[in-house]
Structure formats: structure tokens, C-alpha cells
Amino acid sequence: MKADPKNVLTGAHYLDGNHACAEGAIAAGCKFFAGYPITPSTEIAERVSRRFPLLGGVFIQMEDELASMNAILGAAWGGKKTMSCTSGPGFCLMMENFGLGLMLETPTVLVNVQRGGPSTGLPTLPGQADMMQAKWGSHGDYEVIALAPDSPQESFELTIHAFNLSEKYRMPVLIMTDECVGHMTEKVVIPEADQIDLVERRFTKKKPGEAWPYDPADDGGISPMLPVGEGHRFHITGLTHDHRGYPVINAEAHEQNVRHMIDKVVKNADDIIWLEEKDIDDAEVVLMAYGISSRVMQPAIAKARKEGIKVGQIKMVTVWPFPEKRVRELASKVKSLIMVELNCGQMFLEMDRCAAGKCKTGLVGHFGGTVHKPEDIYKAIKESIK
């Protein structure tokens, strides 16, 4: 299915990452947005609130982020494509019902424009320190899908991609961007609507009385949803449940329920994971990064390569699920893997785990508040080949 031309602001624009993200959501067909103001994400909500009235969408500023997250789930079950945006402190509050979204298998998109933390931290300055929270922030076992744009152009494109993944896998999808990308203004080219592919909501084809909310799909894949108001009169719950959506409180049902949520990400990891690799074939050192850090490392890589150091790079467009398989492969081929990120070592832990001692691993961390100095990254490259 192609995007509706009404929703697509085709043309070349000069936008920051947050505005581009809002345009991506609108192009993807988002028609309900519930949010709460928080720096540095607010421009997303502001742009949506300006654009929605003439596009048939509803923007509502809720009383807090707990409410925002719930409202986008409720509206998603009401048939809309929905989204919210926030930053660290709000992300904490949203974690409660991010878990509900996973448990109810609800398609929706949540954007975290990361700032420095913990607590109020650095409201106006960048960080990438919510990466583990994205994976583990709600209680219980589960898998998530999270994307990290590195530019306003990617903010537009990955927001559409996030909506598509959320529909395909019937789950909330995270966009883990950062203050730099959110507030960086660049050229954003929005294509014609017929160049934008959308995944639409899949509803059951079964008649009322025959369908349950978690019936496996005919092809064994992700179950289609049941529409509200069409006689299915179904029930869903945040409790451990069976395919009928009925609570079943025992270990067997729980294993089945949680396994299903984990499997739909793990078994489709090859489809979900999106990496952009460069100069990997002969690389001795591979730098990994995501979001703003993947751009900040470029001068250091260029300098090292000019000196003849064989440096390759991987930009992680999807940050979760982690590209385990690829890192394991590379670890047995290269001398060193280095993670560049604006935190004290979060995705680094995953990289180091997957490298499993087969190569050296390094972290170019940063406490946040600004981006890395290229020379720190360069030094780490030099260090790694000693």
C-alpha cells in the first residue's frame, strides 16, 4: 500500500530531525498522537498539533506520559495508527505501559529524543544513555525493536519504517534518536506519496464468534488484530493470557505467552536488523555506532584510513534487536571492534558479549552533553591496533 498524497509534504525542505520525524509519522498515516511536553522532543508534538486538524488526525496533550502511552494504545485498538514522543524522564513513565503495549501486541510508535540523564539531567543537551532502558526498561522478559536515525532525512524515513515494523510485527516500535539529530537542521527530501510503501493494519478475516485476539495467522505468522465495534466482543488483558486473550495464571501459559513475544523479534531478526557497513572486507578495526555518533566518528575514520589503518564501520540503523550474528562473524575476522556511543558503555556491553573474547573490544564512551571529540575516537583506533 502506498502513502496517501494528502499526508505527504512532497518536496525538498529544510527541517530539523524532530520536524522531519513528525512529517514521517504523518506520511505513514498516523492519525492519533498523545503526548506531553518535554525537551528536547517537543517540536514533534508541536508540528503534529499544527498539521493534524486538516488531515483528519487528533492530537491530544495528555496530563502526563503515563496517560500518553495508554492513550496511544487505546487509540491503536480503536483502529488508528498512533504515536507519542518523549525524552528520558518521560520515557521512564512510559515504560510502564510500553510493557502493556508489548503484552497486548499493539502496533504503535514511541520516539525518545535522548538527552543527558539520569533524572532531569541535561534537558537541552544530547545523550545516548537510554539504550539499555529501551531494551529492559519495562519489567519482565521481552524483545524490542528500536531504530536510531542519524539525520533529519533519516528521522523522516525511519519514522515511516517504524510504523511499518509496528504493523508487521504487531508491537510498539521505538525510535531512539538524540537531541543532536532532533535539533539539527538539514535538507530533507520528501518523496512523492507513490514512492512511500506502507504496511497497513491487518484485521482478522474471520467472522465474529470465530476469532480470538491472538489467533495465529493462517501462515503461522503474526496474528491479525480484531477490530473494535464489529461484533467480535473480544477481551484483552495485560495479564498472562492465552490465544483467546483470557487470563491464564500458570507457568505453562506464561512460557507460551512470553516465548511468543520474544520469538516474533528473535526469529525475524534478519528481516528487522538493518546495518550500514562500509570498508568491512579488509578491515582490521571496525567501529560501530548509531545515531549522531555514527556521523561524529567519520573524521576520525577518514584520518586513520589516510594513514593506512584499515578501519571499517557499521552504522546500526536498528539498535534493537542487537546484530548478534554479524558481530560474532566479525569478531573472528578482525583485530578489534570499537563501540562509539554517548554513554558509559551500553551497546558496548552487547558488542563485547557477542565478540566473546575472539577479538579486542573497545569503548569510546562519553558522559553526554556534547558529542565526542574526533581525536578521542582517533586515539581509540590507534590504541586498538597496537
Binding site: 496517560a67 473494535v228 466482543r233 477481551h235
Partner: protein, 289 residues
Amino acid sequence: MSVQTKQLEERVHPMEKLLRMDRIPHIWCPTCGLGTTITALAAAIDQMKLDYDNIAVVSGIGCTGRVAGYMKVDSFHTTHGRSIPFAVGLSIAKPKTKVIVFSGDGDLISIGGNHFIHTARRNMDITVICVNNFIYAMTGGQVAPTTPLTAKSATSPYGCYEHPFNLPLLAASSGASYVARWTALHIRRLTTALKEAISKKGFSFVEVIAPCSTLYARLNKLGSGLDLMKFYHDNSEIKHGADLKDVDIEFQSKITVGKFVDIEKPTYLECLNANNKRVFGDKYQPYGG
């Protein structure tokens, strides 16, 4: 098989159409007020001849939170305190669906209190039924923001010393279009109130004072479920339009019941449409779902 058993087996529950009979027996204790409250809601829906397909029930967590799981309509069992914001999203997405939030006092007024006042303020077109048993029952009878002064609970073993909320006053001052209070004894009046609340355009609120003989009555030595019903019978005072400052509930005091607020004012979506029409004129297509 005795004749009596056979007769029982052949009998159909009068509310079967609206209940998930495949989930019965339910989890609630004997003498709980939830049975009568659900019966009143089912009767209200039936008497209004509403299309069952256009009703959604949303619950939070707690004893009353389980109601969504037993009502045979589109039904959502959400997280603790969050039934209202979930219902807000659902109601905006499906304006033709009658969205009914059915939850308890701890869920709606303590952990969900902020959502409650803001949704009333917006005059969101939903009905909120709050079953008030004065305690957190599901977790074993702890003190709640509705526990009357001096009443004992599992976490106020020497008596509650916090001032409780006056729920009708809270709802009305937050902006509700309809506010009523009845007890689980007043089945017919409660049914009427629920019919009025569901018909009401905008935020409607019905508080149902309900017995919890397992915890509240036992901890406070108030007797059996029957004794509580007798208490409601002897101590409820019907006072429509009462001054809401006077409807506080004290420990074993008179309970003022009745219809307190019934006004007309534009709903959230009506306000949204009117404002956008004012600004954009004919370019604006009113939002209808």
C-alpha cells in the same frame, strides 16, 4: 440426576448475553458488591436497547479491575490506574462506541487520580463507574484514599488518620457532566443512574458504595455482607442535588446518595471540532472517528 439439579442446568442466566459465561465462575467473594453492580450495568444496557457491539468496557487493576474480563463486549483489562487514559484513546478513535470505565476506588482515584480529574476537565465522552469498597481489596485490604477516618485496614491497623476524598465533589469540581452516588443495595436506582450516565454526552461518573465483607467488614467488625446491606438500607439518605460539600463519608456514618450533577456542556470532541471550524472554516472536516 435429581430433578432440582436438572432444572438448574436448564436455566439460563438472565444476563448471559452480556457475560462471558466461559469464564464463570468468577473470582469474587460471596457478598461482594460487584455482582449487583455488574447486574445493574447489564440491566441498564439491556433496557436502553444498546447495540452490544458498540459498547466497550475498560478496567484497571484490582477486584473491580476484573470486570472487563467478564463482560461480553469489547473489553480491555489495562494496567493499574490507567483505564481512563486507555479509554480516552479508544473513545477518540471510536467516537460511536460507548466507552465505559469500570474500576475501583484505589485504581481510579489514587494511582489514576490525575487521569480522573483531567478527563473530567476535558468532558471526555466516557462513563466512569467507580466501585468504592473503601480499601484495596485485591491486595488484601490496605488503606485507600477513600478509607473513612478511624476505619481499620491492613495498613492502617490502628485506624485510618488521613482525610478521605469526597468522590462526587472531586468529580463535579473537575468538570463532570453527570455525577451520582448509590450503594450496591440500590439496584433499581443504580440501574437508572447508569442509564442516565451512559446516555449523557460527556464525562459521567457514578460512585457505587459496595460491601467488602471479606476484608473491610471483617477488619472493622461490621458483620456479614447481609449486615452491610442492612446498614446501607438504614443509613442511606437520598438527597438529589445535595450540596457536594456535605456528602463526605465518615466511618459508619449516613451515606448521602442520589443524583448530584446533570448538566449539558460540550464534550472534548465537540470543543475540538468547534475550535477547528472557527479557525479553518470550510476547509475543516469535522472529526468523527
